[in-house]
């Protein structure tokens, strides 16, 4: 009997069909194992892909330097007026001394209340330059974004984020109108398209929301509002002096990002106030990306191990059933041996049965695995429809996750399934073959 003859395989299938329920349950073990390998890897890939997209949104060739409020003990020492963060001098020094910086984009953000007629909106006043739009991947809806002329001329012009425009001008066209921020008025020159918030990345980068922003030229902000920010809190005043909230540095080559980040850090540390206050942070999206890659790998391995355990359980199921089958078919083994079957013919016969079982489990498991994205989408849909409260409580990463079937997981899972069939089928098959034909024939 040859391994490759159709008849051998037909015989295997025939023998398995003698106990359809038993065979089905055995297949189920492998089916679940294979499907869970593909599912877990697909979900893991979906989550990490989301994280990677967010990091890539920050730009792999960027370095972000942010002003940080120093720890409270430092703040108390300095009295009422707290000055911290990166300064325009730092900005100039970085741009002038580090040659790998292609361009630098300073930003100053302040929380302010915007008004137009009776409408008031609390939001973020962002002083920036025209490049800000590119770097944050914002898109213009109507009008235009700020221009260099407006920045250098310190003009009182502003651009509104979609939601601010919606709330300040529920009926009117905002273009050409003037909104007021405290005592100053700004003419609206453009409205941006809505942009979803970027999620926080690890502990190093806070979530950013763009929906309540108003953009003005950074020079205008400096001239109109200045660096001093006074906030009233529980009866007392708190004053902060911050020159720049953030600098986004664009580096000439991705390869230079790390080295440049180190240089930036060193340059800033040389300034005594920065060194003692630790009032800045450097975020390197490229490093986050690298981190995300390793995290992804670990995640995948973890998921893979869990799934592999379920496959091994399936394998043990196969072994269990095949051992029972071998005992039950002792007589058949004796007959076949008497009629001329060699030991290896018997091994082959039982091995083929386990391969058929595990291959059927493998194929159906792969099909179920491929259905993963559809099924998850369907679950979200049902949750949204019937249990919206539960849905709302789910974390963003989970909700927005789209499982992506990892192509390699299909041959991998199928291969493991069949190898498990062979490995766990081998022992029962050898046991069958090692029986003494005379004893086996006598078996009742």
């Amino acid at each position: 009997m040859s391994f490759f003859s159709l008849r051998t395989w037909q015989l295997g299938v025939k023998s398995l069909l003698l106990h359809p329920l038993r065979s089905l349950l055995t297949v189920l073990g492998i089916f679940i194992g294979v499907a869970s390998v593909i599912w877990l890897l697909a979900i893991g890939e979906g989550i990490s892909r989301k994280a990677r997209e967010q990091i890539e949104g920050l730009g792999a060739d960027n370095i972000i330097v942010r002003s940080n409020k120093p720890p409270s003990e430092v703040a108390e020492k300095s009295g009422r007026l707290l000055a911290y963060g990166i300064t325009r001098e730092d900005y100039q020094r970085l741009v002038n001394t580090i040659p790998t910086i292609r361009s630098a984009l300073p930003i100053r953000e302040i929380r302010r209340r915007f008004g137009f007629g009776p409408h008031l909106v609390d939001g973020r006043l962002v002083g920036c330059t025209p490049e800000y739009m590119d770097v944050t991947r914002l898109e213009v809806d109507r009008g235009r974004f700020l221009t260099d002329v407006e920045v250098s001329g310190k003009q009182n012009h502003c651009v509104l984020a979609a939601e601010v425009a919606e709330r300040l001008f529920p009926l009117d066209d905002p273009l050409g109108k003037s909104i007021h921020v405290e005592e100053a008025y700004y003419v609206v020159v453009g409205v941006m398209k809505p942009k979803t918030a970027t999620a926080a990345i690890g502990g190093s980068f806070a979530a950013q929301e763009f929906s309540n922003d108003v953009y003005v030229p950074i020079a205008t902000l400096q001239a109109r509002i200045g660096d001093l920010v006074v906030t009233r809190r529980s009866g007392s005043f708190e004053a902060e002096q911050v020159e720049l909230s953030q600098i986004t540095l664009r580096i000439d080559k991705v390869d230079n990002v790390r080295e440049t980040a180190r240089l930036v850090e060193e340059t800033l540390r040389r300034v005594p106030t920065h060194r003692t206050n630790r009032d800045f942070a450097i975020v390197v999206p490229y490093e986050l990306l690298e981190q995300a890659r390793t995290t992804r790998l670990m995640f995948m391995v973890f998921m893979g191990v869990i799934a592999a355990i379920s496959l091994v359980v399936g394998g043990i199921g196969i072994m269990n059933i095949m051992l029972a089958t071998v005992t039950e078919r002792t007589r058949e083994i004796g007959i076949r041996r008497a009629l001329g079957a060699k030991r290896r013919d018997i091994v082959r016969q039982f091995l083929i049965e386990t391969i058929v079982l595990s291959a059927v489990g493998g194929v159906t498991g792969v099909l179920a695995g491929l259905a993963c994205p559809a099924v998850i989408g369907w679950i979200w849909y049902l949750l949204d429809k019937y249990l919206p409260k539960v849905m709302a409580q789910l974390p963003d990463v989970i909700k927005s996750m789209e499982p992506a079937v990892v192509p390699e997981s299909i041959p991998l899972a199928f291969g493991i399934a069949v190898s498990i069939g062979v490995v766990f089928g081998l022992y029962p098959a050898m046991r069958a073959a090692s029986m003494d034909p005379i004893e086996a024939l006598r078996h009742e």
Binding site: M1, S2, S5, R7, L11, K14, S15, L18, R331, E332, G334, I335, R336, R337, A338, L339, G340, A341, K342, R343, D345, P437, I438, L441
Partner: protein, 231 residues
Amino acid sequence: MSLAARLTEVTKDYVLGGETVHALRGVSMDVPEGDFVAIMGASGSGKSTLLNLLGCLDRPTSGALFLGDDDVSRLDDDQLSEIRASRIGFIFQSFNLIPQLTVLENIEVPLHYQRRIGQKDRRRCRELAEMVGLQDRVKHRPTQLSGGQQQRVAIARSLVNDPYFVLADEPTGNLDSVTTKEILELLVRLNREGKTIIIVTHESDVGARARRIVRLMDGRVLSDERREEVP
């Protein structure tokens, strides 16, 4: 006349629970081609052991056992399997058909262990089914057949590899008297057509149909009688 089998001073010892059992203590006999031998004896006489040796299911402890021109007493497991597949036809008391296979597939089994089965082999299996009178039942499973019909399938199967001899172990032990008669008739007919048949039995009326009766007792040949005309 050439020989289907020849035994010279064959002994077989078993070790059972630390004690050696001498199942055969030196058996010599020739089975010429075309013979019809009944091996008889009480239980414990060694007839089952002799059957296992003749059927190449086991090896003698000493002595020589020739099937045709081959000494099979020193062959390894695989070689013995090959001899069983190509040179011996088995018939058992409990028929021993494989339940998940049809009649035709059961007849084919010994051929599977020799070679890839071709159209010619298929035709031969069909002819054998016809010869034992089961041409209408080739697609049936063993469970759908009566005991006598199952034994006919077993007889057809024993002939498919054109063996040196057909080795029947109590072939009528599980059958009623009418069917017993039919099966014995079939064996006699096969013998007349030139097949060598060896029956192991303890029933004297089965032995009575043979041309030669070899009686065993305590692992030795007690008597070896030959009758020229079978009733």
